[in-house]
């Protein structure tokens, strides 16, 4: 719990160094094979050159799909490899809205020009990093692990309450719910994602319940951050209700102070609520991403391998953790989602 708050605080600290950013969109400059574009309403259509991918939307490539996008602000490119999911999200950090480019599954590489303070945050389901003039590739493993490899520039990565700085030709792997591992030299050769992910699958199959527990911890971190904001939002709602009642009293009395009270007290409360709501949505959608692309895959792997031996102990142990995660998810995250998110 504390580690998760430090992660968010750490991102806040880093983001504080960056001036206010406008949320960014990405334009599609190349596609090949089968590439889907899921909009914020949850509808998936084919991604075409020229299509704009906006905040809240995703790009999903099939086994033959590749896509390249460019951020509409600045010269930055995003390459989405086959069997991958790239999400463009937004969150408010210290009152500043920042774009977060997420590799939710598979492999996504990103290259940013050195624009002072304009780079967005990058990450996956279990970590977020600030980048500066960077070419970075993010690999999202089936067990929730992330491998972040920097070709050029610098990256400051936060996870599990710890920060690691990566320079050119350095990489680090982050397992879910844990601090970043030891960084290592990376000579710029593209990682064989299939092979790397097969390794992740082997790690998972060696200890499925253990892997699921790590995912549970990661999801719990996001959930706790979200849950911490809910009472704040409720308080703002209560403050607004009181302020609205006071405003009504002043208006009914044709009190000249009503105009200033409306502008100075009531409207800021509406704005505060909107900001909190945005952050709550960010955490809920992050958990949804892990639920869908990590936990769902884990379940499929275990279930499909044990159709003929459902009594297998490893499988039973995994199912126990899985059920626990799903129960918590249904209780606390689903209420923050809408059908369009699914």
């Amino acid at each position: 719990m504390k580690a998760r708050r430090l992660t968010f605080a750490g991102a806040l600290l880093f983001a504080g160094l960056c001036p206010l950013l406008q949320a960014q969109n990405a334009e599609t400059v190349f596609t090949s094979g089968t590439v889907g574009h899921k909009n914020a309403a949850g509808k998936t259509v084919s991604l075409e050159i020229g299509d704009l991918v906006r905040t809240g939307e995703s790009v999903i490539t099939k086994s033959d799909g590749n896509a390249e996008l460019q951020l509409t602000t600045g010269k930055s490119s995003i390459k989405v490899k086959p069997n991958s999911v790239f999400m463009l999200t937004e969150r408010s950090v210290g009152g500043v809205k920042q774009t977060v480019l997420q590799a939710a599954a598979g492999s996504v590489s990103m290259k940013f020009e050195k624009l002072a303070g304009k780079e967005p945050l990058v990450g996956s389901s279990n970590c977020v990093a600030g980048v500066r003039g960077t070419e970075v590739t993010i690999y999202a493993g089936m067990d929730g692990s992330t491998l972040m490899a920097v070709s050029s520039g610098a990256v400051e990565l936060e996870s599990g309450g710890s920060t690691v700085s990566l320079s050119a030709n350095e990489a680090v792997e982050v397992k879910p719910g844990q601090a970043p591992g030891q960084k290592f030299a990376w000579l710029g050769k593209e990682v064989d994602y299939s092979k790397w992910n097969e390794g992740k699958l082997a790690d998972f199959l060696a200890d499925p319940a253990g892997s699921a527990r790590k995912v549970r911890e990661q999801m719990a971190g996001y959930r706790d951050s979200m849950l911490a904001l809910l009472p704040e939002l409720e308080k703002k709602k209560a403050d607004f209700a009181a302020a609205a009642a006071e405003l009504k009293r002043l208006s009914d009395a044709k009190d000249q102070r009503s105009e200033d009270y409306r502008a100075g007290t009531v409207f800021p409360l509406i704005q505060d609520q909107a900001t909190l709501f945005l952050n709550i949505r960010y955490y809920a959608l992050s958990v949804l991403s892990m639920r869908r692309f990590v936990l769902g895959d884990m379940y499929m792997q275990m279930r499909s391998r044990h159709m003929l031996d459902p009594g297998n102990q490893q499988y039973s142990d995994f199912l126990g953790v899985y059920a626990d995660i799903v129960t918590a998810y249904e209780a606390s995250i689903v209420p923050q989602l809408v059908d369009a998110d699914i």
């Binding site: 089968t34 949850g42 509808k43 999903i60 099939k62 086994s63 069997n83 999911v85 599954a105 598979g106 869908r292 692309f293 769902g296 895959d297 379940y299 499929m300 792997q301 279930r303 499909s304 391998r305 044990h306 159709m307 003929l308 249904e330 689903v334 989602l337 059908d339 699914i342």
Partner: protein, 161 residues
């Protein structure tokens, strides 16, 4: 040259007949898909033989597996590969029902908001729910219009007792 009216009519009637046939066939495409029992048993035989991975496009994302939504093609492919590798088969199946997907059909997979949303968003008027009984229990399979002679498989659950 004079054209006799009778011969003129004979020349155009085949064309009119072809147009009529094309229009009728086009109108048939708007009738929702409903596989017969033979098609369902053909699909069961394909699953039993581990043949699903061999037919491209037969089972694709988005897919529902028990209560899990699989959005990546690689995940659906892995599902069928794993089932084939373990020698899984439905076995001898008795068709209990073949029915249109209704508003409450999702509850048979899982009575959750996510599964309800999947059914609403990713299934269409051509999606059909097949209920099969076997010695291992009950299976639910969601089928849709055919690919290479087999109904497309959009969802799978079971066996449940």
């Amino acid at each position: 040259m004079k054209i006799k009216p009778g011969k003129l009519r004979n020349r155009f009637w085949p064309s009119i007949a072809l147009v009529a046939l094309a229009l009728v066939l086009a109108s048939c495409a708007s009738v929702p898909y409903m596989p017969g029992e033979a098609k369902v048993q053909k699909t069961v035989a394909l699953i039993n033989s581990g043949g699903v991975p061999g037919i491209k496009g037969l089972s694709d994302a988005p897919f529902i597996f028990d209560a899990e939504i699989l959005l990546l093609q690689a995940e659906v492919a892995s599902l069928w590969d794993n089932l084939k590798a373990t020698g899984f088969g439905i076995g001898k199946a008795k068709i209990v029902s073949i029915s249109r997907i209704g508003d409450e059909s999702y509850r048979l997979f899982s009575p959750t908001a996510e599964v309800r949303a999947f059914f609403k968003k990713y299934l269409n008027r051509d999606s059909v729910l097949v209920t099969l009984d076997t010695s291992e229990g009950r299976y639910l399979v969601i089928l849709n219009r055919e690919v290479k002679g087999y109904p497309r498989i959009q969802g799978f659950k079971g066996p449940t007792k």
